[in-house]
């Protein structure tokens, strides 16, 4: 009898603890779901959602489920800030994982600092997000940076038999920073390179003809572009018609994910096959780990796409770091999780990544390769596709 009573009492006492354990950990995700950037925002949010669904099916983290609250940030810094505040104040989220553009990221970082909420940025590349004067204990990034991307391109272009190089980039933070990183790094590793021309169309420019004409008049041997996403489709259609790729013998590298399956797929036979491109992910990345192959199969099923988006992986990795940090901290407490993220290494589908203690930046590189036609697919792919590990040139 007494034993029974004790048991009942113990069960009663345990109840609140069990209830606490049942309460989900809420994660807010401000990310563009409308306008052109939805192209990347939507799959990224789905990658995050897939991670959460899979984790919850296995019982969650520390016995608690994760609840992901996704909101449209409209790719606008003010809107992203408003949404982030609303997620914190109204939805009471415990963490933020999200933002896409280089304007949104730093803006939401300020909100995270004010509210002491851990914020993991999966996509914005601007160096300013984790620069020494902007860094605070709660901001982390698992995306590549403009420094990483620009220097990766320099490492590749340095091996080409060219010395006269031209650049074209949108005239705003991302375009300027990535171009600067490229120019500085290539002058260091191959001093014979001369930058013969630089074009700066406005963000979202639709007519590149005058820029391409002006650039080709300077007779470059190679071109480095960071015209990203759907804009690259417009740019390359016009450049191809003007014979620009032929004139530089396809010594062209398209940063800003010009080599992503989404871009090559949308252009099909019109793609300037033979140029170099980059991408966060590629479903055909054969030399990758079994972990990546398994991820690709899962995301393909989840998105119901035969050739899944390359952007989903960034949302996935962002959530993966958060979950691992909570596990390591043994708690969902902000301060503890923020500490746990420092130096944390996670086995992601893109390989082992570590968030550095000194700048809260993961050593996330990207896939690079020369585009070729492959009879296996109805669109060009990068082959061979190589992951450029930025660890040795991040500083």
């Amino acid at each position: 009898m007494i034993r029974l009573l004790t048991l009942a009492l113990a069960a009663l006492l345990a109840l609140p603890i069990a209830a606490e354990a049942q309460k989900p950990i809420k994660v807010g995700m401000p990310i563009p779901l409308s306008g052109p950037p939805a192209l990347f925002g939507e799959p990224a949010s789905k990658g995050a959602q897939m991670f959460v669904d899979e984790l919850n099916a296995k019982g969650g983290v520390l016995g608690r489920k994760i609840e992901l609250v996704i909101r449209d940030s409209k790719a606008d810094a003010n809107e992203a800030v408003r949404v982030a505040r609303e997620l914190i104040l109204k939805e009471n989220v415990d963490f933020l994982v999200g933002t896409l553009t280089s304007a949104e990221g730093p803006a939401v970082s300020v909100v995270a600092k004010e509210n002491k909420i851990v914020f993991i940025a999966p996509i914005p590349k601007t160096d300013q997000l984790t620069a020494a004067d902007k860094l605070h204990p709660y901001v982390f990034r698992v995306a590549a940076t403009t420094t990483i991307e620009g220097r990766s391109a320099a490492e590749i272009v340095a091996k080409w038999p060219v010395t006269k190089v031209a650049t074209i980039a949108f005239d705003y933070a991302y375009g300027q920073d990535v171009t600067k990183a490229f120019v500085e790094h290539i002058k260091k590793i191959k001093p014979s390179v001369e930058i013969v021309d630089q074009q700066w169309p406005k963000l979202g420019e639709q007519d590149y003809n005058p820029f391409i004409n002006a650039q080709m008049a300077k007779k470059p041997e190679a071109i480095v572009s960071s015209i990203w996403g759907g804009f690259f489709v417009t740019y390359s259609k016009q450049a191809k018609a003007l014979g620009a790729f032929d004139a530089i013998k396809y010594n062209f590298i398209g940063l800003g994910e010009a080599g992503s399956p989404e871009t090559t797929k949308s252009m099909g036979a019109d793609y300037p096959v033979g140029i170099w491109g980059n991408s966060y992910d590629a479903f055909y990345w054969d030399e990758s780990s079994p972990l990546h192959r398994d991820y690709t199969a899962r995301i393909s099923k989840y998105l119901k796409e035969e050739y899944p988006s390359s952007w989903a992986i960034q949302g996935y990795i962002g959530m993966q770091f958060l979950a691992e940090a909570i596990k390591k901290a043994g708690s969902a407490d902000t301060e503890k999780v923020a500490k746990a993220l420092l130096g944390l290494t996670v086995d992601t589908p893109a390989g082992k990544l570590t968030i550095r203690e000194k700048d809260h930046q993961a050593n996330r590189g990207q896939l690079y390769g020369k585009t070729v036609k492959d009879p296996k697919y109805p669109f060009p792919i990068m082959k061979p596709v190589t992951y450029v590990d930025p660890t040795r040139f991040m500083d």
């Binding site: 052109p36 169309p201 406005k202 005058p210 759907g230 949308s266």
Partner: protein, 294 residues
């Protein structure tokens, strides 16, 4: 400085941009002249024209004339859509404050933009150049894509046809009269409502055609509607709201300023155009060839 063939190539690329803008801006300008409302949804008709052309091309496959069938089909589909919107929705707003009509066109931008996203998703789409026009020709040492050359010729052809309709036909006279004084025109027994429908349809046709013809040169993405409406608006303001030749001149100037502006001020390409627009607004607020509003 620069050699002559380069200057020539640069001016031709400006001309291509100009002819496109003219095609789109002329619909916007005519709409304003008659209905006295700035039609924000004009850019949306342009975007839907592009998506429709993409859709038709993907149904037909890549035959020699399929692109042109698609372009015409898309323009007609958008003209029909314009007609439906006018008949069943916009017509209810005549006689109400112009602000309501303006807000209505803005509502169309949002609604049709979302409809396009539901149908075609957020991934970018692309249409190939029509067969026979994939290459480039060399003119005076400058490389000109054949498709651009065609657009340069098509622009003035459409402009002249349009001008002919306005100046030489009965309908054209009514359209011009409606721009001057619609009350009197109605009092004289002309069916002004039918005329408005006609102008709505014509403007939608031009917008849709512009969108369809741009597809071999640009990506089709959500948001392409708002980009073009700003450019068309600048053209119309420079040339004079409601002025036919003003729109033509405005487009020509826009194209050349963009082309040569980047040579003079490489980092301020867009600045040159807005500086020009500001100057025009200060010196001649009604535009280069426009008439001051009463």
């Amino acid at each position: 400085m620069h050699d002559l063939s380069f200057v020539f190539a640069q001016s031709l690329s400006g001309l291509t941009a100009a002819m496109f803008l003219f095609l789109i801006a002329s619909g916007l300008s005519r709409f304003f002249a008659v209905l006295r409302v700035l039609n924000f949804a004009h850019g949306t008709f342009y975007m839907l024209g592009a998506y429709s052309a993409y859709q038709i091309v993907s149904w037909l496959g890549s035959g020699p004339v399929n692109f042109w069938v698609a372009a015409l089909g898309a323009a007609l589909a958008i003209a029909l859509l314009g007609g439906i919107v006018e008949r069943f929705l916009f017509q209810r707003l005549y006689g109400k404050e112009e602000l309501y009509q303006l807000l209505f066109t803005y509502a169309l931008v949002l609604i049709l933009g979302d409809v396009a996203k539901l149908i075609w998703g957020t991934q970018q789409k692309s249409v190939s150049r029509p067969p026979g026009l994939t290459g480039a020709v060399s003119v005076l040492g400058a490389t000109i894509p054949s498709y651009n050359l065609l657009i340069i010729l098509l622009g003035p052809a459409i402009a002249l046809g349009f001008w002919f309709v306005l100046q030489r036909t009965r309908v054209g006279r009514f359209i011009r009269a409606a721009a001057l004084d619609r009350e009197t025109l109605g009092a004289l027994g002309v069916n002004v409502n039918a005329l408005y429908t006609g102008v709505f349809v014509l403007a939608s046709f031009l917008g849709g055609l512009g969108g369809a013809l741009i597809t071999p040169m640009r990506a089709i993405v959500p948001g392409m509607d708002t980009d073009v409406i700003v450019e068309a608006f600048v053209v119309v303001v420079i040339g004079g709201l409601g002025s036919f030749w003003g729109t033509f001149l405005g487009a020509l100037i826009y194209g050349q300023v963009l082309s040569f502006g980047i040579l003079l001020f490489p980092r301020f390409s867009i600045f040159s155009i807005f500086a020009l627009m500001a100057t025009v607004l200060i010196v001649r607020p009604w535009g280069l060839l426009g008439r001051p509003l009463k």
